[in-house]
Amino acid sequence: MSGDSSESKTIFSPALAARFDRLVGLYPVRRSALIPMLLYAQDEIGCISDEAVAEIARRIQITELDVRNVISYYSLLHTEPHGKFHVQVCTNISCMLRGGNELFEHCKRRLGVGNKETTPDKLFSLEEVECIGACSWAPAVQVNYDFHENLTPESMDRVLDDYRARS
């Protein structure tokens, strides 16, 4: 066991580093902590940077290649930064039936970007996503982790304006 990982230099905040120390000991095998760690690392630094890969590989005691293999499988994990507000529009069946496609087109126009693109000011990025578990409240959008439901183009504009005002 390398209890030294937190004492040796970390790129994460003390709180997250402490959380990671606890996480690797929580499971019967260290590696089980990998996916949560990647997600939390991404939440803190905006994406999974090379440094994050290196540190997490060291903490889990696996190779960086192993870590990258896992990152490439999961759709929420990314190695390039998104916009500050990542707008994820569901166009899957339940949302499609209630205007999900039109909402996605509206967001494209409104933000002036295409799918998986980021606005020049890095404030917003846009992505068409699969079902996010809000089918009964469709059409639905997640901005970062926050759900917005029963949307119309008008209420979507208000949601985007609110985020812009918050920045």
Binding site: E102, A134, S136
Partner: protein, 437 residues
């Protein structure tokens, strides 16, 4: 957060604490919480399994496997530790019920895990939430902390002399990880590639130990079974389909929402009375009865009870409880295409029939919907899908193929219409469609 709904026909057994602040352990206890775990400790492993069998509870994750029977497959003696794994990956399009459980009643999941653990002689349970459900992870983590603080988890739970640990866990976006063996891979920190069975997880599962994997709703139902008794629970439903379940009504309905109804509740009534019928005076065209992978039903096929057996007899599946309602403005080719696009995106790529099949089907349907179709494509689509069936390592291949076959079989005319009117002859319905929601 997601709005709660209500209808007089509901039987609020599983959802009776929703909207009452039961995410806090004090409230949960006030509402009878953790009494079932104490009861289960007294009953012991065999007593628990017997009660579960009497309840006729069938898994709410999709396949409807009898839960008591699943638990009884775990060997009593095992050199390796045994585990309980709660599947909260909830990603089948049309399904949004586990989310409400985690949000409003997280302790019922913890209590259910404890009882499952007692039933199989496990000392550790995991609650796996999809990565998108971050706000729920916080709720779940807090609930677990509270349960530890009360002595319901950890050493000597409820003073029983038994130990039990529960860990909440997050995924990071992948539908395939909801498949039970891929779920275990993911929890072990790997890509979500399924495992070949046998051996089944009940024998060789997580970290090589015997493991029971149940859907979050299945597990959250368990304490309620011990609250009212297995036989009473069974009586709420139909033969071999005990109890109630959360139905997620979505699509072209006046009152979409998640409703708790008895197993066997009539589908037509569910749509027209509980869901308030179709908006704008439009006509019903089709119903996807149990999440996107279940074959579509025609309006004349929906006068059926919603339990696993009756929906099966009607040629579809009760699945995950996601009832998606389509009216006469919907283009079925477009709907089939959107469904396939999802499965193509989610295929893990391990087996050729699934990887290539979903890809070709999406390509063909895209071209077809855009007006570039040829008559022979229609049979080709069906043929391709039929040849995926049963030829893959995990059921995702079937999940993609089954609905496709039904779309072609039941809406052949709509496919044929696309040959004449390029691009989509139903496109003009779009405006009308959006005006009604």
């Amino acid at each position: 957060m997601a709005d709660l709904v209500s209808h007089p026909d509901e039987v609020k057994l599983l959802s009776f604490r929703f909207g009452k602040g039961a995410a806090s352990i004090e409230k949960y206890l006030e509402l009878g919480g953790y009494a079932s775990a104490r009861k289960a400790i007294e009953l012991g492993a065999d007593g628990i399994v017997a009660e579960m069998k009497a309840s006729n509870l069938r898994g709410r994750g999709g396949a409807g496997f009898p839960t008591g029977m699943k638990w009884s497959f775990v060997p009593k003696q095992s050199a390796k530790p045994k585990y309980v794994l709660v599947n909260g990956d909830e990603s089948e399009p049309g399904t949004c019920k586990d989310r409400l459980i985690f949000e409003h009643d997280p302790h019922s999941v913890i209590e259910g895990v404890i009882i499952a653990g007692l039933a199989i002689g496990s000392r550790m349970g995991f609650i796996y939430l999809r990565g998108e459900y971050r706000y729920l992870l916080k709720i779940m983590e807090r609930a677990i902390e509270e349960a530890y603080a009360k002595g319901f988890l950890g050493r000597n739970i409820f003073g029983s002399g038994l130990d039990f640990e529960v860990v909440s866990h997050t995924g990071a976006g992948a539908y395939e990880v909801g498949e039970e063996s891929a779920l275990m891979e993911s929890l072990e920190g790997k890509r979500g590639i399924p495992r070949i069975r046998p051996p089944f997880p009940a024998v060789v599962g997580l970290y090589g130990g015997p493991t029971i994997i149940n859907n979050a709703e299945t597990i959250a139902t368990v304490p309620h079974i011990f609250r009212i008794g297995g036989a009473e629970y069974a009586k709420l439903g139909t033969e071999r389909n005990g109890g109630t379940r959360l139905f997620c009504l979505s699509g072209k309905l006046e009152r979409p929402g998640v409703y708790e109804l008895p197993m066997g509740y009539n589908l037509k009534k569910m749509i027209y009375e509980v869901g308030g019928g179709i908006p704008g005076g439009r006509k019903l065209k089709a119903v996807v009865p149990g999440g996107s992978s279940t074959p579509v039903l025609l309006p004349e096929e929906i006068d059926i009870g919603m339990d696993f057996d009756q929906v099966g007899k009607a040629g579809s599946m009760l699945g995950s409880g996601g009832v998606v309602v389509l009216d006469d403005t919907v283009c079925m080719v477009e709907f089939a295409l959107r469904t396939m696009k999802f499965y193509r995106h989610e295929s893990c790529g391990w087996c050729i029939p699934c990887r290539e099949g979903t890809d070709w089907l999406e390509k063909t349907l895209t071209r077809f919907h855009a007006g570039g179709g040829q008559a022979r494509d229609i049979d080709n689509i069906r043929y391709l899908a039929e040849n995926m069936m049963g030829r893959t390592f995990c059921p995702l291949g079937d999940a993609a193929a089954m609905p496709t076959i039904a779309f072609v079989k039941k809406f052949r005319k709509e496919f044929e219409d696309h040959l004449n009117g390029a691009p989509c002859p139903y496109a003009h319905h779009r405006e009308a469609a959006l005006a009604t929601v």
